[in-house]
């Protein structure tokens, strides 16, 4: 969400990093306004199907969790944010959350990919060292503002009745809550282990078991297959003669399968609030690394990319980020957009699915980048095909159910002969 606010600051003539200087009380209230503003997001003009905010699972979840419309005197004050002024309190709500087309947060995959770089743990250590000693030196005034906001917003209990308040006795560790959401939605766990602090008792050990069977374990194979098929389409996009293994119908089928899988986890608005909060947390740290922000300068980590800045900051606190941080940072927004589009049903028919490998559109270009980055980040050889086989195969792999399990054992447990 903070990336959206940064864009509003930039559009109003300010700079993106000014968001990091806004008072944490205002930012906290703005998050509640932004949550409410999601109800303004319009349907997308993709055809005759309704696309009423399915990213929420149930559009009613906004109102269900939201404070009713306040009358004077208000129970809670508005954020008072008015871009591009970071140090002003207007006494009114930030306008984009009240009128216009609203704000939409990134897909949960964005939070997963950014957290996979190690960003959260590196900054957690930075904050810890800055508040308990002087091993990292002193901060500028802007750096001190960043530190105060970061500690208040993400390393303590959120304010009562805030939309960001997803920590409680029932789920005391924010780190585990995020892993829980990633596991349920994608069947992915983070590549690094949980740190030793803070302690979390049983939740720390058993969180996967508590999820039960409601994890989308099939997400990764389907996603990789989709990338493989889109790559075939991109390779053959300009073909005017000869064999063309592109199969838009199969691509549409894969998109629909992924859509159904993800929407299953969102039934009744499940995970909507958690996604909002997790994306918000990680977008703060992503924004802190996008440019040479005050905290980056104070830590003497000026560089030309978020991955390089993170690497330099990690060195200051004796840590190392993920080896493929650059790819993960680059992937985050692209993969988020594509998964959002898939969940909205943008590619549910073969004609629409063909846009994924239309190299002349922004979407086609993003898919090409996404395939490159995914292959590089994960090591999965999406572009490779079997060599030495001149026969042109169908794009759709054939996987028939195997029989041996049935044939080998009879009703009494003995082999059938």
């Amino acid at each position: 969400m903070f990336l959206s606010l940064a864009k509003l600051f930039e559009a109003a003539g300010g700079t993106r990093e000014q968001v990091l200087l806004v008072h944490p009380a205002q930012l906290s209230r703005w998050l509640d306004e932004a949550w409410e503003g999601a109800a303004l997001v319009p349907e997308l003009p993709i055809g005759s199907t309704s696309t009423q905010a399915p990213f929420l699972g149930d559009p009613g979840i906004i109102g269900a969790l939201n404070l009713p419309n306040q009358r004077f005197p208000a129970l809670l004050a508005p954020s008072g944010i008015r871009p591009p002024e970071a140090d002003r309190f207007t006494g009114a709500r930030e306008q984009s959350t009240r009128r216009g087309v609203g704000l939409l947060w990134h897909h949960l995959i964005y939070a997963y990919l950014i957290e996979s770089t190690g960003t959260f743990e590196v900054f957690a250590e930075v904050v810890r060292r800055l508040v308990i000693g002087e091993t990292l030196g002193t901060l500028s005034l802007d750096g001190a503002s960043w530190l105060r906001a970061t500690e208040e917003l993400f390393f303590r209990d959120p304010p009562l009745y805030s939309i960001a308040g997803i920590m409680s006795e029932a789920r005391p560790l924010s780190r585990v809550t995020r892993r829980n959401a990633y596991w349920r939605m994608f069947g992915f766990d983070l590549p690094h282990a949980l740190p030793d602090w803070p302690s979390g008792g049983g939740e720390r050990r058993d969180w996967k078991a508590h999820v039960g069977s409601s994890a989308n374990a099939d997400f990764r194979p389907k996603w990789t297959e989709l990338l493989r098929q889109v790559w075939l389409g991109l390779e053959n996009f300009l073909n005017t003669s000869g064999a063309n293994a592109t199969d838009p119908s199969y691509i549409a089928f894969l998109c629909e399968s992924i859509k159904d899988m993800l929407n299953n986890r969102r039934r009744g608005g499940l995970l909507a609030r958690e996604e909002f909060v997790h994306v918000t947390v990680l977008s703060w740290f992503h924004l802190s690394l996008q440019t040479d922000t005050p905290i980056v300068r104070d830590l003497k980590a000026e560089a030309t990319s978020p991955a390089d800045r993170l690497s330099l900051i990690a060195q200051r606190v004796g840590m190392a980020p993920a080896a493929r941080s650059r790819e993960l940072f680059e992937l985050a927004e692209k993969m988020s957009s594509v998964l959002r589009a898939i969940e909205l049903g943008l590619f549910d028919d073969p004609t629409a699915a063909a846009t994924l490998f239309d190299a002349t559109t922004a979407l086609g270009g993003e898919m090409r980048d996404l395939i490159d980055l995914w292959q590089s980040a994960t090591g999965e050889r999406v572009k490779d095909r079997p060599i030495g086989n001149p026969q042109v195969l169908s794009a759709q792999p054939v996987r028939l159910p195997s029989l041996p399990a049935v044939a080998e054992a009879g009703a009494n447990g003995h082999s059938v002969r």
Binding site: S4, P42, L44, P45, A74, A92, R340, L344, T351, A362
Partner: protein, 198 residues
């Protein structure tokens, strides 16, 4: 030996001519119904009008993807504006919808709620002289040339509208999008504190 840029320009000119020829073909339905003014196929080098149904579908998908990027606050690449899709302000009256910040070339609007769709030609609001009203929001000068209105027939004032999309011609291309519109009279009141500031 033509340079690569000259070759590209030549291809663009050929594409433009091809699209114009297709648009002028007698097979196209005549736009002579009394409700609709003639369809003008306005060819844009950057964004040619779609010529087939499949083109139209793909253009909608590509546009929706870009609009999605705009909504999530994505930043365009240094060489493009792919995630800066123009956003039009809209407000609902009793039997009218008024628009502000209309981009150049936005002549049609498509109102949509689920499968219910209505396409309307936008009536641009005539230029006005500066008066007391023009200073509202400090945007008086800008309001004069980019405002417009439509009078929906299919959508009653009591019906919410899920999306507003702006097109160059009735058939495309899509060039901007607007907000979800609540039923007339159902919008939330402005907070007292907000009135004091704005």
């Amino acid at each position: 030996m033509p340079t690569q840029q000259e070759q590209l320009m030549q291809q663009l000119v050929e594409l433009t001519e091809a699209v114009k020829t297709l648009a002028a073909r007698p097979g196209h339905p005549p736009a002579e119904t009394p409700q609709r003014p003639p369809v003008v196929v306005d060819v844009d080098i950057d964004e040619p009008a779609p010529v087939t149904d499949a083109d139209r579908v793909r253009q909608r998908v590509a546009f929706s993807y870009q609009a999605l990027g705009t909504l999530t606050g994505r930043v365009s690449t240094a060489t493009g504006r792919e995630f800066d899709v123009p956003v039009v302000k809209a407000a609902r009256g009793d039997n009218t919808i008024v628009f502000d910040d209309l981009p150049p070339g936005a002549h049609w609007v498509e109102l949509r709620t689920g499968g219910k769709v209505e396409s309307l030609r936008i009536r641009r609001t005539p230029d006005r002289d500066d008066d007391g009203d023009s200073d509202r929001d400090g945007e008086g000068d800008r309001r004069r040339s980019d405002a417009g209105e439509v009078f929906p027939k299919l959508f009653a004032a009591s019906e919410p509208i899920g999306s507003t999309v702006f097109l160059r011609t009735a058939r495309g291309p899509l060039i901007a999008f607007g907000p979800r519109l609540a039923a007339f009279g159902s919008a939330e009141p402005v907070e007292p504190a907000e009135l004091a500031v704005t």
